[in-house]
Point group: C2
Chain length 149, copies 2
DNA sequence: GCAGAAGACGAGATCGAATCTCATAAACAT
DNA sequence: ATGTTTATGAGATTCGATCTCGTCTTCTGC
């Protein structure tokens, strides 16, 4: 859980996209955008609700799921499923901030990582694949340092 | 849904692994192993139950989940989560048969693919990653030919 | 073979994340 | 400010996954 708070204006960008898509400004949306912008990696709906309930404005489950769906639809948030049947969400960022995930199958630890070679291989792949690629997601499973003994 | 029925003896191999791990032979396990061995790609628990109920021996939900857990634990089956909150399972195979997944986010179509460049990038990555890698899973999201218009 | 012990299996209860409903509150246009 | 439209929340509901526990099956020792 690297707490790399990167303020890249993502929240403002996302808010603009919402407006352009015809949505109004609401307290729940604003709170969610701010929270997501501070995260270095993906959060589950439950984690989002707890985080917002603690500090900030409390937001209901229904709103979280509804807003995440809207944000995903306009392409500013990505749904990530890393096992344990829990869906997580994270801000979609351009160059810096873009990363993939290592998951420890024993303790569930989630670790973001980046790799230029991998990105190159994927962009090459995108051309000859029978799919208009929107986002790619790489999940590596294994045992983390702690769990591998 | 490429119906590449590849009989590589995977079922027998898996059955042997189960025995070595101390499990007995049961009707549910046998039926599940045979079904999985015929698949070119991942199936959900529900799909497995339907397939077994139709032809072959019917198997209960409880047994499917229980057996899949055992098979995953001994490393012959891999859990795959490709969105829509549904868990799928597929046989883990060595060289041929090893593949990754393209998912259409609109219609849910699932397409297996292989890419040597990607595999190379991943094996290079494995060395400097802070995790003992067991399996890797690459999911590419996008719009399929049909949905992309 | 056969009896007993250990494990496999299934029906149904239970859990919990995600979704749906609908009444109320908040945002926006005029 | 007023009316109209959209956003939000509490609670009900859905449905995949898990648990429970009694019965059936496999295996072991005789
Ligand atoms: Zn992440
Ligand atoms: Zn771990
Ligand atoms: Zn597959
Ligand atoms: Zn499609």
């Amino acid at each position: 859980m690297t707490p790399t708070t990167q303020r890249s204006g993502w929240a403002e960008q996302a808010a603009r996209a919402l407006t352009e898509a015809g949505y109004r400004r609401g307290g729940a949306r604003r709170a969610i955008l701010e929270l997501l912008d501070e995260q270095a990696c993906a959060l589950s709906a439950q984690e989002i609700q707890r985080a917002l309930g603690g500090r900030r404005r409390a937001v209901s489950r229904a709103s979280i799921y509804r807003v995440m769906e809207e944000l995903e639809a306009i392409g500013v948030v990505q749904r990530v499923e890393l096992g344990q049947g829990i869906v997580r969400y994270e801000a979609v960022r351009r160059g810096p901030g873009h990363h993939h995930h290592l998951v420890c199958d024993r303790c569930g630890r989630l670790e973001p990582f980046t790799d230029a070679g991998l990105e190159r291989a994927i962009s090459r792949l995108s051309d000859r694949v029978p799919l208009k690629v929107s986002v790619h997601e790489i999940v590596i499973h294994g045992a983390c340092r702690v769990c591998a003994r």
